[in-house]
């Protein structure tokens, strides 16, 4: 779960976070593991928030094999 975290998609990261939270049942984890899980969880949640804002929302037109921005924003 920790390896290649950057390659994980949003959904996989969200699931990883859910798994961490579920794993963290009260008193169930030894201290070191608990702290590890907590730190990892915070990191993933920051990643997730970043993912949501990272995309550049723009309409691109694919024509003759190349991408060009749409002439008009939104509209039609």
């Amino acid at each position: 779960m920790t390896q290649k975290k950057t390659d994980l998609g949003f959904e996989a990261k969200l699931e990883a976070l859910e798994a961490l939270v579920n794993q963290m049942e009260e008193g169930g984890l030894p201290l070191e593991k608990l702290l590890q899980a907590y730190e990892q969880g915070i990191k993933i949640s920051q990643d997730l928030t970043r993912d949501l804002d990272a995309a550049q929302g723009k309409l691109m037109i694919l024509k003759d094999g190349s991408l060009k921005p749409a002439e008009d924003e939104d509209g039609a």
């Binding site: 976070l17 963290m24 608990l34 997730l48 949501l52 550049q56 309409l59 691109m60 991408l67 939104d74």
Partner: protein, 401 residues
């Protein structure tokens, strides 16, 4: 020459009469498909009847259509009974229908059904083939006409749900000759883009002929074989094309397709926030449980165990302390009071604090002395700031209440 020129009315009247006088054109049955059906307020119906190569304008007057048990629709295959003639006002040749019969299943439908059966048997429409849609696509591909309501609806919904979702449109021909080929090519091009994680393919409503490209085998197969999940939005909710069966998800409208493909950003943000809150809460609770267990252990150790191990646990208490501090650093403001109280308690529990309160630990050869009856001649007393070697002067049993 000029004197003998016919008036338009005369000409049209002449043609009308010749047609009306031709028995080949009277009381005949003609088979074709209804298109451009327009019922007028007057009760008369105007429409075209056509086959693959030809069409004829038709009218069915109110007195003839009143008793009809079905309502014709575009694409419906029918047999008309009536006569061909000329409408002199416009000089247009048309068919005057006096009766209309439904011609079983139209030929296009037969082709549709045959292909559907074939692909169904191949397993092309199997539920097991359907891929789940991604929760958050990196980009959404759109294959539809470059102008028109479909694109507009998709863009509007996508923008509302996730304003910064990258959208990639590959304009395609969605009806007529070559449409299926262009749609296949467009789908292929869009699917090749790495970041495109989901694709909407569709067009607006229309007659069965207009939608026909979406029933063509090559497009249906291309959708099924597409490496990215495909959502179809073809025609109106009531139109079902084979493309819809092959797609991973079928949307009743273009707007609905966009709702399926594009997540609601606010909802996702809320989900992440809720998980982070739960993470804080559970970490806190776990630490509180751990520290409660430590306190219990420390209490028992104070009575039974050597100072060395006491110190070991004191160290672990400090670690818990540290952990609590780091959670605190994780901006858990709402738990500040709780944390402060807990940390005070933890500090009070270290052995140093107990010794400082006036207790001393009696040790002999590293083991704690717990009763006076086994007191050796010489032993060690541990204070909070040092230790002393002492000698027994006298000892007697006593009860403490």
């Amino acid at each position: 020459m000029q004197a003998s020129a016919l008036s338009v009315s005369d000409l049209n009247e002449y043609v009308r009469r010749s047609l009306a006088g031709d028995p080949m054109l009277q009381g005949i049955a003609v088979r074709g498909e209804v298109s451009n059906f327009r019922p007028y307020a007057s009760g008369h119906w105007y429409f075209s009847l056509k086959d693959e190569n030809s069409r004829i304008a038709c009218v069915m007057f109110r007195q003839h259509n009143m008793g009809l048990r079905f309502k014709p629709q575009d694409g419906m295959k029918v047999v008309l009974i009536g006569s061909a003639g000329l409408y002199t006002v416009s000089g247009s040749y048309q068919f005057y229908a006096e009766a209309m019969l439904q011609d079983g299943v139209g030929e296009l439908f037969q082709r549709y059904n045959a292909l559907k059966d074939k692909l169904l048997k191949e397993g092309l429409f199997d539920a097991a083939r359907k891929r789940p849609l991604p929760l958050l696509p990196r980009a959404m591909g759109i294959v539809t006409s470059g102008s028109g309501a479909v694109l507009h609806d998709i863009l509007t919904v996508a923008h509302r749900r996730f304003a910064n979702m990258p959208l990639i449109l590959r304009p395609a021909q969605v009806q007529g000759e070559g449409a299926a080929e262009d749609l296949v090519q467009a789908l292929h091009e869009v699917a090749q883009l790495d970041t495109v994680d989901v694709i909407i393919i569709g067009r607006g409503g229309g007659s069965i002929e207009d939608l026909w490209a979406f029933n063509e085998e090559k497009l249906v197969r291309a959708i099924a074989a597409c490496p990215k999940p495909v959502i179809s939005a073809v025609g109106h909710e009531t139109d079902t094309t084979l493309a819809d069966f092959a797609a991973d998800m079928r949307a009743p409208t273009p707007s609905a397709a966009a709702e399926l493909a594009v997540p609601d950003k606010r909802e996702l943000n809320q989900r992440v926030r809720a998980l982070r809150g739960e993470l804080h809460q559970k970490a806190m609770n776990s630490l509180l449980m751990l520290s409660a267990r430590m306190q219990d252990l420390a209490r028992r150790l104070e009575r039974f165990n050597p100072a060395m191990r006491l110190q070991g646990y004191a160290h672990r208490l400090a670690v818990v302390n540290q952990a609590l501090l780091s959670i605190y650093a994780g901006r858990l403001r709402e738990h500040r009071a709780q944390l402060d109280a807990l940390m005070g308690k933890l500090q009070a529990m270290g052995p140093g604090e107990t010794l400082r309160r006036g207790y001393a630990l009696a040790l002999h050869e590293g083991r704690p002395l717990t009763d006076v009856s086994h007191l050796p001649e010489q032993f060690t007393l541990v204070f909070h700031d040092g230790r002393a070697e002492v000698r027994k002067l006298s000892a007697q049993l006593e009860e403490f209440k």
